[in-house]
Amino acid sequence: MTITTFKLNLGPQHPSTHGVLRLILELEGEKILSCEPDVGYLHRGMEKMAERMSYIQYLPLVDRIDYLAGFFYSELYCRIVEKALNIELSQRVKFIRVIMLELNRIASHLLWIGAFLMDLGAISPYFYAFREREMILRYFEKLTGQRMMYNYFVFGGIRRDIGYIEDIEEILKILPVKLNDYERIITENPIFISRTKGKGILTKYTALNYSITGVNLRASGISYDVRNTDYLYEGLKYKPVVLYSCDAWARYKARILEIRESVTLIKQVIEYLKSCSPTEQKPISPLNLKLPEGNYYGEIEAPRGMASCYVESVGEDRPYRLKWRTGSYYSVNLLRKLLVGNYLNDAIAIAGSLDIILPEVDK
């Protein structure tokens, strides 16, 4: 018997590729024989742009690397410049940054939960998750002026002191209740379990070999979290979420638990912020900002895996070379292996569970 296979273009215009990812699948019936990801439909040349712009000009663009979690890349870039210029942040500024990062992480994970469930065909959790995310985005808008492109961190501090803390407290009060709601609809639902339990198993070895980091790695049983060694998080009690079942369900559950963990982190920070007085910092003069010669490297735990930035400076007012490492890029590469042997509708669940976002892939 001869087996006929055919090629299927999944994307770039497809409801469940969350942007413009194109997967060239080779199918036999509905079984996937091979997968070839094709990216680049959203390439903006972030690295080349950096070489043409001054440090301060580049800062607002950094948010756009991942529009769902802009604070992380902003923080990463600020961190490198601060390291190069030997700027010491005050404890208050550090903790304000922690609040922003963790709120942004919650917003990003919430969106993922909604989108993932939408991929699986459930409608309600999508809208419920967006409702909670909207609260966070409205808070961001109040504080920073925009919903997604914040441009709130500046070299050596933050743009304006934090305010509206009662809003955050309300979010923290509501969020765990709503999370219980989601879990009642989703987590124990037998259909959801049959779609995710045991699907897309990412073993420890494969995860490391494909350079998967972040929640996906922690759901595979490896406790690697950059937050443990991050100087922003010093003095905060934090327990990394590690799950051992390695499948799509574990990746879902890990994100729910991460949101809960972030809530406890923010609570600790708010207690501190209430006890200390506001500080005012002066902006660094934009006119002569030059990094001393050398190379600088920074890492951060972004919602989609570890992000890092490498800057090589030759003493000019712009980087000689700037390189971003983003988590999603490696997740896309993982699809080559993870989808093979699965059926098409499991493939959607598996690809969705990795939390791929395309601006981060294409940079």
Binding site: L117, G121, I123, F127, S194, Y343, N345
Partner: protein
């Protein structure tokens, strides 16, 4: 119906119009009534689904066209009518155009054999139930035609899925129908309805002796209608739009409308089989209670019966929409497994139970 037929023939005979003319027009006039009523009902159903899904997810649903968004579906229908009918390159033109035409035929036929009230069934054959069983599976043929002719891999996959789905869900339906036939000793839908009559109203409904059968039938009808959680043939997040990916304009509208027409027909069918059809749930009819045995009451009773039937089917449709709002989609493999390994045995057990109840002297 027979009564109406004789009245009509007598009326024609008075004016010496040949019998043949009467025979023909007698079926054309009701057809027009159905067609018009169906269109209105479908428009209402589409709006109801969108509104309900909206309110389930804390939104308002369509609310711009007309008061409370009432004219939204009408506007959509007009928009689809005005749109260009695109026939993609490489399609099998004849089949591609035939499929949307064929899809409405079984729906109309199915509506013709449903007893709306005691004296109003368009075609009242003695084996209505079996006829219905055939007609309910018929739209799948045109879905397959459409998917096959589209020359699109997504369409073809959707069509293949729907065939597999209907074949596996037709068997449990047949066994449940058998148990209903056993209970009522009739293969006529009016007979089945009348067999459910009892003085205590809803106590005589077949849902009580045959509750397992009801659940099986409900699930199977969800599958046959391609409704969530069995909406695999069009699985938006996987197959874009399944079998009607390539259809546009009026052809798409016909597929879309037939889906809702079939939903309506099947929910009425379910109401007839298990919820007593047009019988009042209180035993006596409201018009009899209010107006006594007057001539007006004997006419109003027919309308009341239609009302009860529609109310029961509306309740079922509400549950179907509610399920759509909550549950994720099953995987195609699990779907077949669910039917063959759970629903089929359960429906056979149900048949045995019903036989025991009927002939074991329990009823």
């Amino acid at each position: 119906m027979n009564l109406l037929y004789f009245m009509y023939m007598e009326y024609l005979a008075k004016y010496n119009i040949p019998k043949l003319f009467g025979d023909i027009t007698f079926y054309i006039i009701p057809f027009c009534i159905i067609a018009l009523a169906l269109l209105i009902i479908v428009l209402i159903l589409v709006l109801a689904e969108r509104k309900l899904l909206g309110y389930f997810t804390q939104r308002k649903g369509p609310n711009r066209v007309g008061y409370w968004g009432i004219l939204q579906t009408l506007a959509d229908a007009i928009k689809l009518l005005c749109k260009e009918n695109i026939t993609p390159k490489g399609v099998d033109r004849f089949l591609f155009n035939l499929a949307p035409v064929l899809v409405f035929v079984p729906t109309f036929a199915a509506l013709g054999i449903i007893p709306y009230c005691a004296e109003f069934t368009f075609v009242n054959t003695s084996t209505n139930v079996i006829l219905y069983l055939i007609l309910a599976a018929f739209p799948i043929l045109s879905i397959f035609l459409g998917g096959w002719a589209s020359n699109n891999k997504y369409s073809l996959m959707g069509a293949m899925r729907s065939i597999a789905q209907v074949i596996s869900y037709e068997l449990p339906v047949t066994f449940v129908l058998l148990s209903i036939v056993v209970l009522s000793s009739s293969t006529n839908l009016t007979g089945i309805t009348l067999a459910q009559y009892s003085r205590a109203g809803f106590a005589g409904w077949f849902i009580f002796p045959c509750i397992i059968g009801f659940v099986v039938m409900f699930v199977s009808i969800l599958a046959e209608l391609n409704r969530c959680p069995f909406d695999l043939p069009e699985a938006e997040s996987e197959l874009i739009c399944g079998y009607n990916t390539e259809y546009s304009g009026m052809r798409f509208a016909i597929f879309y409308l037939s889906e809702y027409a079939m939903l309506f027909a099947n929910s009425m069918f379910l109401a007839i089989l298990f919820l007593g059809g047009y019988l009042s749930p209180f035993g006596g009819y409201i018009s009899h209670i209010l107006l006594g045995d007057s001539y007006l009451a004997s006419i109003l009773v027919y309308f009341e019966q239609v009302f009860w039937l529609f109310l029961k089917s509306a309740l079922l449709i509400f549950i179907i929409i509610w399920i759509r709002a909550t549950l994720p989609r099953l995987a195609s493999f699990d779907l077949l497994k669910f039917s063959w390994s759970i629903l089929l045995p359960v429906s056979i057990v149900n048949l045995l139970l019903v036989v025991l109840i009927k002939f074991g002297g329990l009823l």
